[in-house]
């Protein structure tokens, strides 16, 4: 029954997966944006800047609100607006963090 084994003249070698089974960084994301790594990298810097921006706007809102509470500043609207701006910045940071974590989790779920 030699027919069965020899019908398709396919080069079987090309079908075998490469022996190096550990996926390399270039295979997953060839030349794309750097994946967030504990050491920082580009995205880490962006995120740090965002956090300090949020801190600043929270500090400013705190200052204005305190001066209104103590009676030094009669402009209630400045306190309300500063608090809303600080809350917006904070929400933005939280959403970015959520999306990053989601993306990372999806990445980890990818079968290799």
């Amino acid at each position: 029954m030699a027919i069965i084994g020899s019908v398709l003249p396919v080069n079987v070698q090309s079908l075998r997966p490469p022996l190096d089974l550990a996926p390399s960084r270039e295979m997953i994301a060839p030349k794309g944006p750097a994946i967030p790594a504990p050491s920082g990298g580009q995205f880490g810097e962006i995120f740090e800047k965002m956090v300090s921006g949020v801190e600043q706007s929270q500090a400013r809102a705190g200052e204005v609100t305190r001066s209104v509470l103590l009676g030094d500043n009669p402009n209630l609207h400045q306190s309300v607006i500063a608090m809303q701006e600080a809350s917006l910045s904070f929400s933005l940071m939280v959403e970015v963090r959520n999306k990053v974590v989601e993306g990372y989790q999806e990445l980890m779920r990818m079968p290799v």
Binding site: G71, P74, H77
Partner: protein, 143 residues
């Protein structure tokens, strides 16, 4: 905390106008009082106002600016103008010539004063209402 803008000024004005209305009511009530505690006819009282600085609004670089001021009653004085003298010998307070000195209260003046004071009072109430509505609107920013 000064959450309502201008409320301190308005409060002072409401107090002052109330005092003024009280004095006007007193004047009108005594328009025919020919014998007061001092023995003479009632003399009309006059309320005088003065402004009182609440908060200076000079800017940080020293530029002068008129501050925000409220008003307060600086004093209640007696109008010394002698009242009208009428001839009424039968009146218990008639003097030796049969003349009675009436209080120097002119009802027409007092009524005009009363209306002015009421209008001022209502205008200040209007300001207070607006302050409150503006503050409530401000609190809803972003909601």
């Amino acid at each position: 905390m000064e959450l309502l803008t201008g409320i301190a000024a308005t409060g002072g004005a409401l107090n002052s106008q109330r005092t003024r209305l009280d004095i006007i009511a007193q004047n009108i009530a005594n328009a025919r009082t020919t014998r007061g505690p001092d023995g003479g006819p009632y003399q009309r009282r006059i309320v005088s106002f003065e402004s009182e600085l609440l908060r200076s609004t000079d800017s940080a670089n020293g530029a002068k600016s008129p501050g925000l001021a409220t008003v307060r009653v600086s004093g209640v004085t007696t109008d010394p103008t002698p009242g009208q003298r009428v001839n009424d010998p039968g009146h218990p307070d008639a003097d030796a010539q049969g003349m009675v000195t009436l209080p120097n209260v002119n009802l027409a003046f007092e009524m005009v004063d009363l209306i002015t004071a009421s209008r001022a009072y209502e205008a200040n109430l209007n300001v207070a209402k607006n302050s409150r509505q503006m503050a409530l609107k401000t609190l809803e920013i972003g909601k």
